[in-house]
């Protein structure tokens, strides 16, 4: 099986801290991987490196065999954990924007997802609530037929009913040709979606494996395992 992402000893240091201290991770095609850890563990840093907006201090990361750059950005669909949507846009403008810049954008899928998420095409981004903005971001990201989806806290700041919808959208969007890496600290809600999980702490992977196998071995849920690893 091919690996869509291979990271070898990725390090990221800043003047006063080491955000990542040698991360080794592989993500195979068709797998959904959970990158789990508390705030400050380095998970967002790692995702940003994979997305190409942060550059590692040491180590190598290859996405579809290439270093992060223009090509990888065209096959990676990244959902950051902040408000990056342009405020002057309406929902339909944002859709058009993605369509214009990403050749793998599926407008039909986008329209379906918008309806599913109860988003009105003509609303302005400014007028949306936090939860609706999250749903819109996710719609845009999932409407691309990317090879790798990078979702940073897709459930953050969203009420439980919206969470179900988001999880549903993620699952129904799954394709054997693409992979996902998802970070979250709401492990309980999302653990059934993971094929594999990797626990990250202090910039290093402290445990990784197949979710079902870990359940069998440890006789606990991934959520409980998370609590145990990070107590």
């Amino acid at each position: 099986m091919d690996n869509i992402l291979i990271s070898q000893k990725i390090c990221k240091s800043y003047l006063n801290k080491k955000a990542l201290q040698g991360v080794d991770l592989e993500i195979a095609t068709g797998k959904i991987v959970g990158l789990l850890g508390p705030n400050g563990s380095g998970k967002t840093t790692f995702l940003k490196i994979a997305a190409g907006i942060l550059h590692p201090s040491k180590g190598e990361i290859l996405i579809d065999g290439q270093k992060p750059g223009v090509y990888t950005k065209s096959i990676v669909s990244y959902l950051p954990d902040n408000e990056y949507l342009l405020k002057w846009m309406k929902v339909k403008d944002a859709v058009k924007y993605f369509k214009d810049f990403y050749s793998d954008f599926d407008e039909k899928k986008a329209k379906e997802l918008l309806t599913f998420m109860d988003l009105d095409e003509d609303s302005s981004v400014k007028s949306l609530s936090k939860g609706m903005k999250e749903k819109l971001k996710l719609t845009l990201v999932l409407s691309r037929n990317a090879k790798l989806y990078i979702l940073d806290e897709p459930l953050g700041g969203v009420d439980p009913t919206a969470r179900e919808k988001i999880l549903n959208a993620i699952v129904s969007n799954f394709s054997a040709n693409s992979s996902m890496i998802i970070t979250t600290h709401l492990v309980n809600d999302i653990e059934r979606i993971f094929d594999d999980v990797a626990f990250i702490s202090g910039g290093e992977i402290v445990l990784k494996g197949n979710a079902e196998e870990l359940r069998m071995e440890r006789k606990m849920s991934i959520d409980e395992l998370y609590r145990e690893v990070f107590k």
């Binding site: 800043y14 003047l15 940003k48 997305a51 190409g52 907006i53 942060l54 550059h55 750059g69 223009v70 090509y71 950005k73 065209s74 990676v76 990244y78 950051p80 902040n82 408000e83 990056y84 949507l85 342009l86 002057w88 924007y97 214009d100 810049f101 990403y102």
Partner: protein, 252 residues
Amino acid sequence: MFKLIKYELRANFLKIIGICVIVIIANLFLMTKKGSWELAVPALSSILLFVAVTVIFTSSLNIMSKYLYEDSGYLLFTLPQSGVSILSSRLITALIQISIVAGVSSLMFYLNVTEEISSLFFKNIKPGLVIYNIFNYICLVIYGLTIIYFCMVIGKVALKGKKLGKLGSFIIFVILVIALGWVSVKITTLLPQNFDLSTFKINSNEVIINSDFTISAGKYEFNIAQSILDIITFAGLFMSTSYLIDKKLDLS
């Protein structure tokens, strides 16, 4: 690249219209006061021109600053666009925006200065001179913005933190401008050969003091060495900035 330009223009569309409308209305108001305020009218109009251009120029810098330091950069820098494409579109968009505002303000200023639109004015314009001036203007804007954008990007890449980054950019800008100026003086005194576009001859002119584009009474010439220096510097700064955006830019 063109798509980027399209979206950037759309993003600031209202701002441009707003500035132009304010300038037009203010100038129309001044026109009504031509009789009573006399000389104050063209003076104020020119101030309006200056302010409008400053505002739009500052806005062009602000947009870049927001890309580098704020969330809007996430959308831009995750697009599958090269550094060259991003920088070019930013420069071209800024040029278009500045030109629109400058054009409208200049026109209004002109209308406020003259008594009537004289057809003589249009008859006496030398097309060559106009093209040369426009070309100069474009080069000036693009070159100037490139220098500033270079300093902004390098400040962001080299220094951590918003305040430090911006301060660093400013300091680098000052140093760079002084350095370029110094080199410019040295080169033009060393190689004072000018190229005269009206006669297509090379003149030697000892009296050049840091002038990129010398225009005097219909004669248009420029210092050859200076121009080569400018082209090389521009190319270098442009490529460096693109490279930094591609390979070194870290968004916080």
